[in-house]
């Protein structure tokens, strides 16, 4: 209980630090939300000045941050300058869709990459290893942006019908771009565990390779993989922004992308908070898994 409370307290401190640093970073970057209007001859300079005052952009950064914090306390998470409505209202529906997409992609990635990684570690240099190793390298050379576009184009040529705005293709693309990392790390980690003496011992005792791999080696190599889990979640959530945009999945992607470019501070901060919270949760789950998976940590000799 106290452990959880301490953990929650730490998470809160962390979130405050993340928001403050993110705010500071945004301050560093040149230009603000109204920059766009400054070069628009149809919008008089006086209007820009008035909007600046209305958005509080003429206030010092610390005042604006304070205002934002108060707004978080009231559950609004600030007001988007572009949309003129509270961020909580703005992201309500989209957040769920982004999280759903990310989690599905995370599940699919691990479901595929874990067995493939284990198998390829055991049969290093086999045909599957060569195939997946090669495929993963090509996937690495293609950023998620291009993979999304290639899928769009491929669907057009092959006449698969619409791929935009559907969750299936988006999940597939996300899983494809995050596959190499999980696959390679699994392969390397399992490859290392395969050299542990107990593997040979079990083989001599007559266990089948598959049994050895999945019942014995995999649990023994979970420790680094658990670290990878939260990393891959972080990677997938950031990649999902771009994939959502290329494949028109109506999540946070487009909103956030425009907000980043438009310096719509409140929206960016909200997205950063969401990412930080997700990471916290993933790390908590990761630590829990580690605790369960590694008796050396769970049951320390006194």
């Amino acid at each position: 209980m106290t452990f959880l409370l301490r953990r929650l307290g730490g998470a809160l401190v962390q979130l405050v630090a993340v928001s403050a640093l993110a705010f500071a970073l945004m301050e560093l970057a040149p230009g603000d939300y109204l920059e766009d209007m400054r070069v628009n001859p149809q919008i008089p300079a006086a209007t820009v000045a008035r909007w600046r005052a209305e958005f509080g952009l003429d206030q010092p950064a610390i005042v604006r941050y304070g205002r934002w914090v108060r707004s978080v306390a009231s559950g609004e998470f600030g007001v988007s300058m572009a949309y003129g409505i509270p961020v909580s209202e703005l992201i309500a529906g989209r957040l769920g869709r982004t999280v759903a997409l990310s989690l599905l992609a995370l599940g699919l990635t691990w479901l595929l990459a874990l067995p493939c990684g284990v198998w390829c570690a055991a049969y290093r240099g086999g045909w599957l290893d060569r195939l997946l190793g090669g495929g993963a390298t090509v996937a690495l050379a293609l950023p998620e942006l291009l993979v999304g576009l290639l899928v769009l184009q491929g669907a057009l040529w092959a006449g698969w019908g619409p791929v935009s705005g559907r969750i299936g293709p988006a999940v597939a693309v996300l899983a494809a771009v995050s596959f190499p990392s999980v696959f390679r790390h699994t392969r390397s980690s399992v490859g290392q565990s395969l050299r542990l003496p107990f593997v040979d011992h079990l083989r001599a005792a007559g266990l089948s390779e598959t049994r050895i791999l999945f019942r014995h080696v995999l649990p023994a190599s979970l420790n680094p993989l658990v670290s990878l889990l939260s990393l891959s979640l972080a990677g997938i959530t950031s990649a999902s922004l771009v994939v959502e945009v290329t494949l028109s999945w109506p999540g946070m992607g487009q909103l956030l992308l425009e907000a980043i470019l438009a310096r719509d501070v409140a929206v960016v901060l909200a997205a950063v908070m969401v990412a930080a919270t997700l990471l916290q949760v993933a790390n908590l789950i990761g630590d829990g898994l580690l605790y369960l998976a590694d008796p050396r940590i769970r049951r320390r000799p006194a």
Binding site: E35, Q42, Y83, E89, G165
Partner: protein, 551 residues
């Protein structure tokens, strides 16, 4: 059961429609694929294009500028009259106007609309626009269907001020306005039933981030020549998709019926799919947009060469605009030499005089070339400068590469610096710390009034020199001609003055205009009456007249 009945009913209706040719134009839904989603439905604050596109269908102004003829046209007004002294405009409203919720639209709504825009607390972006000579328009009711607008001094484009100001439903908005909650009214989360407007459509359904459906406004005032009520279409749907590639892909995949404002590359991509997909492509020629190379002529600018007309002329003459149009825009852009494109029909001064040879211009101004072909200025210093381009847009980075290569040919070393848009604008507008920048502008109107801010010293968006002062005689000359042009209502004189201003800008080249991207459009065959224009929403401006041709 009910569903099936409704379907049967619709089928029956359809059958009768086909039997009666005069009705054959009605019904159906057109799906427009947009690259960006509206930020909200608030007609006062929305300045971004996607919001304006939808709001333009939900609301209607008193007058508007016809997108094709570029002349003022009555919308909610039955007629309007400008007084001989040019200071009063009288507008008569049509009879029996109603908002989409059935409430009558009266002069009270007109007064409310302008009061809102002129209220400092509202901070409308039109507040300053609705001022003439620094004083706000005075709007009064001169009868139940008549409004009068008085200006402090004669203003040439007076009635154009009214164009594009959507008339707001007072009965829906006044409460929020009184309570000071006007800005948060009609945000993206607004329910369709809260909204009302006098435009051809009304909001039916919003799925944030995904799509938006509008349905016909049963109370819309307009009828076609046969007396049939507009709009013809039952519904307009907007499908939101991010980026040009996704936009084009969704059109090609048959998810949408119309897409516009994409680049030459996408045009080419659709072209190669065309036969198979039954899509009609249209290149409507140059738009009002112009891209240009901007010199930093602010006082204290670091590059002495820029202040010399001959240097700027030489740069302009060295530009291979044909190549930019052909390579960067894949042939879907028109080379231009001045900021006024041929799309501004009666205001365009015609092609500029042929440019002199750049090398001759430079040597006449005392420049020389060294053994390696580098250009040296009269003091013997090599000429080189940096060029900011918007990194997010490949068209600009490619144009930058062409400019770099063209200037290299005359010995000028240009370093292209790609930069994120807002950082770029910050440098150009706030810090004024740059040499040259590649930019693009879209005038909001064809009338010279639209250019005043961009070209005269007092205008705060004269990008090349933001000091507010005329530093050169030609800048003063532009100021003077534009001032005269804005004060007179003699259209021939205005035109002549505007042509002179264009010649000055071409001659002095503070911004070296390069190309005007063509307006490109793709629609499903069978969707008729889609006629891209130049002003307002370039494609949706006549959406009330669109119809499906039935086979």
């Amino acid at each position: 059961m009910e569903m099936r009945l409704a379907k049967l009913w619709r089928e029956l209706l359809l059958a009768t429609l086909i039997l009666v040719p005069a009705w054959s134009q009605s019904g159906g839904r057109a799906i427009v694929v947009q690259r960006s989603e509206p930020r909200g439905f608030q007609p006062v604050y929305s300045v971004d294009e996607p919001s304006r596109a939808v709001i333009g269908l939900l609301h209607a102004p008193l007058l508007r500028i016809h997108s094709e003829t570029q002349e003022t046209e009555a919308v909610l007004a039955a007629s309007w009259k400008v007084s001989p002294d040019g200071r009063t405009i009288t507008v008569n409203l049509r009879e029996n106007l109603r908002f989409s919720d059935g409430a009558p639209l009266t002069v009270a709504d007109v007064l409310f609309t302008f009061a809102v825009h002129q209220d400092a607390a509202v901070a409308s972006p039109l507040r300053e626009v609705l001022q003439v000579g620094g004083k706000p328009l005075v709007v009064t009711a001169a009868g139940p269907r008549r409004a009068q607008f008085q200006m402090a001094e004669p203003y040439a484009a007076g009635e154009r001020l009214l164009a594009g100001v959507a008339i707001l439903p007072r009965h829906r908005m006044e409460a929020a306005y009184q309570q000071g909650q006007f800005r948060s009214l009609w945000g993206l989360g607004a329910k369709p039933s809260e909204l009302a407007g006098a435009g051809p459509f009304r909001l039916k359904l919003v799925e944030p981030g995904r799509r938006m459906v509008l349905e016909r406004n049963l109370h819309y005032w307009k009828r076609d020549k046969a007396g049939k009520p507009l709009p013809y279409l039952d519904e307009m749907e907007f499908l939101f998709t991010a980026g040009e590639d996704a936009q084009v892909a969704r059109l090609l995949a048959g998810e949408g019926d119309l897409a516009a404002s994409f680049g030459g590359g996408s045009y080419r991509a659709i072209e190669s799919h065309r036969e198979r997909r039954g899509i009609r492509l249209l290149d409507a020629g140059p738009s009002l947009d112009y891209t240009f190379l901007l010199f930093n002529l602010n006082p204290g600018g670091k590059r002495p060469w820029f202040a010399q007309t001959a240097f700027r002329q030489a740069v302009s003459a060295a530009m291979d605009r044909e190549s930019i149009a052909r390579l960067v825009y894949r042939g879907r852009a028109s080379p231009i030499r001045g900021p006024v494109t041929p799309a501004r029909l009666k205001w365009y001064a015609g092609p500029a005089a042929p440019a002199a040879e750049p090398r001759r211009l430079l040597s006449a101004a005392g420049y020389r070339w060294n053994g390696e072909g580098r250009l040296l200025d009269p003091t013997g210093a090599p000429v080189s400068f940096t060029l900011l381009v918007n990194a997010a847009n490949p068209a600009y980075t490619q144009t930058g590469a062409i400019v770099e290569e063209d200037l290299k040919k005359i010995g000028i070393a240009v370093q292209v610096v790609p930069m994120e848009f807002r950082s770029l604008v910050d440098r150009v507008v706030n810090r004024k710390d740059y040499d040259a920048a590649l930019m693009a502008l879209r005038p909001g109107d064809v009338d010279p009034a639209a250019d005043v801010n961009a070209w005269v010293s007092a205008g705060r968006t004269r990008l090349w020199n933001l000091s507010g002062q005329a530093l050169h005689p030609w800048e003063a000359s532009v100021d003077e001609k534009m001032r005269a042009l804005m004060a007179t209502r003699d259209q021939a004189r205005r035109r002549r003055l505007f042509h002179e201003v264009q010649r000055i800008l071409e001659q002095e080249a503070p911004m070296v205009c390069l190309v005007s991207p063509n307006l490109l459009l793709a629609s499903r065959a069978g969707l008729e009456n889609v006629r891209p224009g130049t002003i307002g929403d370039l494609v949706l401006w006549n959406a009330d007249e669109w119809y499906w041709r039935r086979q």
